[in-house]
Symmetry: D3
Subunit: 332 residues, 6 copies
């Protein structure tokens, strides 16, 4: 593990942009030796998108979005009254080396990188990249923790369970969840979707989803039932069988007002505050989070304020903080 | 009617950008023969604006905003559980040919295009353009359905009932509603405004509005009374006499956070979710919608995410979906 | 006092951009003779920022943001049913002449300009600039009204009470509130912070804050207790001793969705509507507002819609309107 | 005449943005009393554009573009070895109060403002605005100096001599030069165009131009013959009869790489250096410049660097410097 | 063939954006019947890019870039003194239906579309898309006109002759020219490259290029020898054997100052004027142009002025004009 | 020295953005052991700017600008026919840790970092940052190589020799060259400026410059005499006495069309091609380059194409290539 920033405090715009300016593990060996609990890793892929590409720049933008760093001052979560890094050791594990122009090779690179992070005993937090990367990523996690033993809570405006895209293309950001269920990596009944809205996918896809036992909670359900009951249900449903939880956050679950920098924005979504609370709530509850991804941040559409990258960065922070809270409560 | 896209599915960025990649009617004859229920048509005018021009690019931007198209997969409204296009036939009727530099001729072109759409038996959905186009558009509708027989529900941050602008200019986006009432096209008491806020128009204008019997519901009334009662009142007031409803949505009724790409943004407005729900709620209730406009989308101020155009696109979708819901419920 | 715009109405983009196109006071003498109640003045400084600079352009952007002006039509506050300018005389007092490259000299210029505005019998409304300017500004106010006799209500995502920044720098936008308390200008117990959230400052800073008797209300407290009780507490706490109120609004208290154009955006904040209501609520309550600042608007990050500058402009408008409401109620 | 900036030096982003932070004349009387040689005045109009509007924001953007001001340090023209302001007194005369939504009233306001500037004995330098404003502006100049006694040198990618626009509209930015010749204000043979290129206007328009005796020099002629001979010819042709020269610079004569922020960019144009030299060359030669305009700067299309506004600002500076050079050489 | 715009003149922002608002051929049959000489068709593909994606939006942006249209007024090429459309019939043939996420299927769609255009007797002008599309496009042309019987003049900053990309990927925008030569579609010695500069490809690739007999002219050769001799050589070399010419223009051959909206900008390139002249010069000389592509316009990086799309549009215009010139000279 | 990227090739957007993805030296010791010839280091400072800040983000933007990396393929300079990295070992030495809000401490950090790079036997290439950093940087170089023994060739639109800024501020980006001469670090007569133009500094400053024996070559001299003679003179003048050369390139020496992303753009400058050639020409001539800076890249003003950062990146590449050429010619 390599501390690239020396002992002095650095503002975020100075030095190499590892996540929070935390130490960097160049390979699986370094990661393992670091004793890290969480490995931040990028999946710079966007060949899976149907509409606006650019998510390949997501990992770097998310790392660079924050104005605070671990090196400048001790972090302190105002709501939870703790420094998350006191309880959770986080290391930057770099990016999967995804070859442009090949979605297949890129997925293979992601699968391998996530496998390495798992092998090093960490919880991988994957920064996308388009949502197609959940296919290799969750596959790697399921292979590590046992096929069928991992449930997924999936925040998204879209179900991403399409059979295929234009031209019959099977691998894209419109279909990863279907591929995961078809392969058996994740049981349909433990694949729980939150925040769906809009006009896609078609009815027939929802029929298929129902046949797989998938469960979903539309954006409107949050409004009618309130957040807490829906989140509670989602957790119970995801872990109705499996021991482990994978959390997948497509940033477009947030309303475009809060997350304009994404490929397929869908008006009518969560506020940033709701999303952050939901993530913290889930991670800090009685679940075993084994991996997480935050995807579909597309910086070219984010405007000069780069608020989508900021939000994605805080989604990761809240997950880390949720983990920290549980450990702190457990005296760790 | 011309299907410009062939039988194959097309992603939204491929081919000519008709609305949802739906068929295109080049003239009134084609529109009539198409049997369309709804005609989408653009009113690319922005000479009426007081502040930031650019709404002339609104119609094209709204058509191009969507990442989904009718040609790529069957649409499916997740909340309403139907494909709106199974119940409502929608055709793109192109743009009114509005000559730049002449607001008068542009208005004449809009009036004529809307008249043609009405003559073809469709519900015209007009994509603005600045709000001055509601003057020719609603005039055409009132002439078609009977002067005094059309009520208007008008979402906006601004009343647009000014007497005149700088220099005594009578026709602009600050005064169309006054002209409509003065001409008698729409009865004052059936002109209902929703979402007003801010510092304009002056008191004397509100006095005039009151004298006309106009009724309005400030943004703060939504907050104090809740959405449902206000919407119910608005519908009842608009149709207190008239048989037909015209819905006019100025995108600046939404908060600038959700709709930055507009000429005169006014902080403190609706969320995107609230606006979409309100439109669907009104259209799917027991009213006879005969026309609708969505105006004041100004792409040069929208940023690279173009979220304002996206929101306007969904406003149209929710109206179509509301129509579809009623028809589906009626077994049509 | 100089009326730069003549008698004719002007749209906002025409003529010199004084605030609302109101008269301009070139110096303290003119300001005094104008009989102004409120003096708008800019503090174009951004050398205090840790992250993204650009707030030096804030004062001009805020003045230019509005599409309405006092010269074009009488203003009318729809919610309060009055023209705020009928009750409160507002004059533009220009900018403090802040030399770039010297934060010290810039602060001195701000302190002097605010002192002049106070000496002319006005309530200065300072348009930042970064938040470091609250140090000279509030110092000037405390010196004018009596050290210890001014309480501060401070809206912000960040406490700005850091001991020092990188390299031990004492003066920046991360520490002004600490300097104010250390100097004794403002009593710790009357320094009330609203909207704090995120991961900064560190725990030790909060310990120091507590030792000073400072009181704060996290963003989450708004959510759990509701707005009204928290605002009521904040006012009571700020004026628990002092006679006078200083209101400081860091625009980043709003969520980045509503205020992307700022240096250190923190997701999970207030909506624009909430912020505007809170400001009006505080100012129109039974307090003696003696000064106000609106800071951290950084136009280069605001995107083409410039919605952050718009929001800041309305924050000032709501404060003026709140003052007007009180005077109107008192028959003034 | 009002000095708005006091005696202290001000950086350009501080204080009210008069041109170079020079004194401001609120009306014709003040202008006259100031003894100004040159009056800078804005014509914030863009209803004449066929394509991308936004030039109404040109005058303010041009004034704000410069990083240097007369108040911060004595200006010094490095190439000419003089301070242009030592030889030419420049005053900011504000903007014509052009009512949005009426091109006719806007033109009337421009005509009147230019007439006032001429009446005060100044050389008006008009900041556009779209090119339609040359119609009222040059008309006012011709009326002042004698119909037929003013020649025009006109830099532009486009001839702007269209008969009419879409819908038969006679007044727009595509036709002002035709109107000027038709009205007799400027003799066709003394209307000289430089930099024309592209695909417009149609052949028939060039036939008409030829019939009027108009003379033009295509962009390609600069390349084949070199700059100096073409400029020499242009000056001779413009003043072949008239005593006075009006210089009209459409910023789109520059290549879009140097001037992206304009309504109808045409690739293949002048470099910024060529344009600046040409303007200085013409003004400093043996001509009597009586008025000048710089038009078609449309800030919404200029990007964050605002380089088009910068270039337009320097075009004005070079004209002033050319005047200064002549006076300096003459011992004035 | 379908005229989508009626008989009235339309400004460019009104109506469906076919190229120049020319008629639209929905399929090969319509194209053939139209008697078109030139078919404009889009290849909306960008999965081949190594760096910044976005060229999938190129075809639409190029069509929308122009402020002039054939429908608004007769076009007139000022330099050539003709209306190019009087001599060359141009029809818009729409876009190849390229499925996102599959570069292979996208290439197949391009190949087929180009083949159809050739079969209809037209000169296809392909709007990219990334440069990988020259592989299917030029293959289709070679298959139509005879393998080995087509030479290519290729303007580009980059040779695009890489063996493979990261991960050994063979198909990308870095290698199409190599694939074309390897397949035998185009003889190496007739593949002529112009404008190369920078630091790529590596030496070994140039060795391979030399072995194939490829010839290239660095950007610096234009500077040292002048344009005319280099262009003359390039034409002679390309047609040293073959009868037919394919012209491929990567917009990044222009300097980033003139073409910022591209994926891999390389400073030190052609001016817009040089590029336009070179294209006209080549096409109007004694060659038989059978196809052309203009690629690598990536609108998300183009800024609000969209000058890169404008330049690409004019590159097409100059080619059409060059064809027209030859025909006019031949009395056609 | 740390290779952060492993052995595999990486596209530029993947992994940590060291310069060209070259190895990283965390401290002076690592740098020394690396045997580097050139050390790339950032000076992320912009408190010295008078106008638009943002250059603190320059070092990161320049590193990220390139689409090619040393790790993806061997670099190859097409004009010089060599891989510059075969002859010159380049290492990324990170950034000086410049505390925001203190220009003094920032300068101290730069001075120290440059001193370390020199102590490690490298040629430091400093990425600015505003131009004020040439003061600490060139001071460190002069101290290392002998006061008076270093000449400077300085490309810039501005002389940067002001006595002081607003408020009498002595240290800013307007005065570093004066401070360097006043301190004696660099002899006035060996301080050679190239590309000056515009309206600043004032005459009196040029008088002072002349008194110091400074020599300068205006932009217009390039045009009148041609590049080669002026460059030859500049080199001779800079080394008329000193043994060593420091090259300082303010990116605003390029025209704003090629470098919009800078704080004080001045139209009428160099093309990108001219700048690149000039740098290569100087470095590859018979001089001993001991340090170089490239300053004033301000990414917030650069637009989405980020062409200014690209140009600055290539300026560094050309310097490295010039060094390599000399070594290659010398058989090294």
């Amino acid at each position: 593990m390599t501390n690239l920033h020396g002992d002095e405090a650095h503002p975020a715009h100075i030095g190499l942009p590892t996540y929070l300016h935390l130490p960097y593990a160049r390979d699986a060996q370094e990661l393992k030796e670091s004793g890290a609990d969480v490995a931040i890793l990028g999946a710079p892929v966007d060949m899976g998108v149907v509409a606006r590409p650019g998510a390949r720049f997501g990992p770097r933008a998310i790392r660079e979005a924050s104005y605070f760093t671990a090196s400048r001052a001790p972090l302190y979560h105002l709501g939870l009254d703790l420094n998350p890094l006191d309880h959770v050791k986080v290391v930057d594990f770099g990016d999967a080396n995804c070859p442009p122009s090949s979605l297949e090779l890129s997925h293979e690179a992601v699968r391998q990188k996530v496998t390495e992070a798992l092998g090093a005993g960490t919880i991988p937090v994957i920064l996308g990249g388009d949502h197609s990367i959940t296919l290799p990523s969750a596959t790697a996690v399921a292979e590590h923790y046992g096929i069928g033993n991992v449930g997924i809570v999936h925040f998204d405006a879209h179900a991403d369970t399409g059979h295929s895209g234009s031209g019959g293309v099977l691998i894209s950001h419109g279909s990863p969840m279907r591929r995961l269920i078809e392969s058996g990596a994740v049981p349909g009944k433990n694949f729980i979707q939150l925040g769906l809205r809009g006009y896609w996918p078609p009815k027939e896809t929802f029929v298929w989803m129902q046949e797989q036992g998938m469960r979903w909670h539309l954006m409107s359900e949050f409004e009618s039932r309130g957040f807490e009951p829906v989140l509670r249900d989602a957790i119970a449903e995801a872990l109705d069988g499996p021991d482990y939880l994978y959390l997948s956050v497509d940033i477009d679950v947030a309303d475009p007002g809060f997350a304009p920098g994404t490929g397929t924005p869908e008006p009518g979504g969560l506020t940033s505050g709701e999303l952050l609370q939901a993530v913290r709530r889930i991670v800090s509850s009685d679940v075993t989070l084994v991996a997480m991804d935050v995807v579909e941040v597309a910086p070219p559409y984010d405007g000069p304020g780069q608020i989508t990258a900021q939000l994605a960065h805080r989604v990761v922070m809240e997950a880390i903080s949720g983990l920290a809270k549980k450990r702190a409560d457990a005296g760790e």
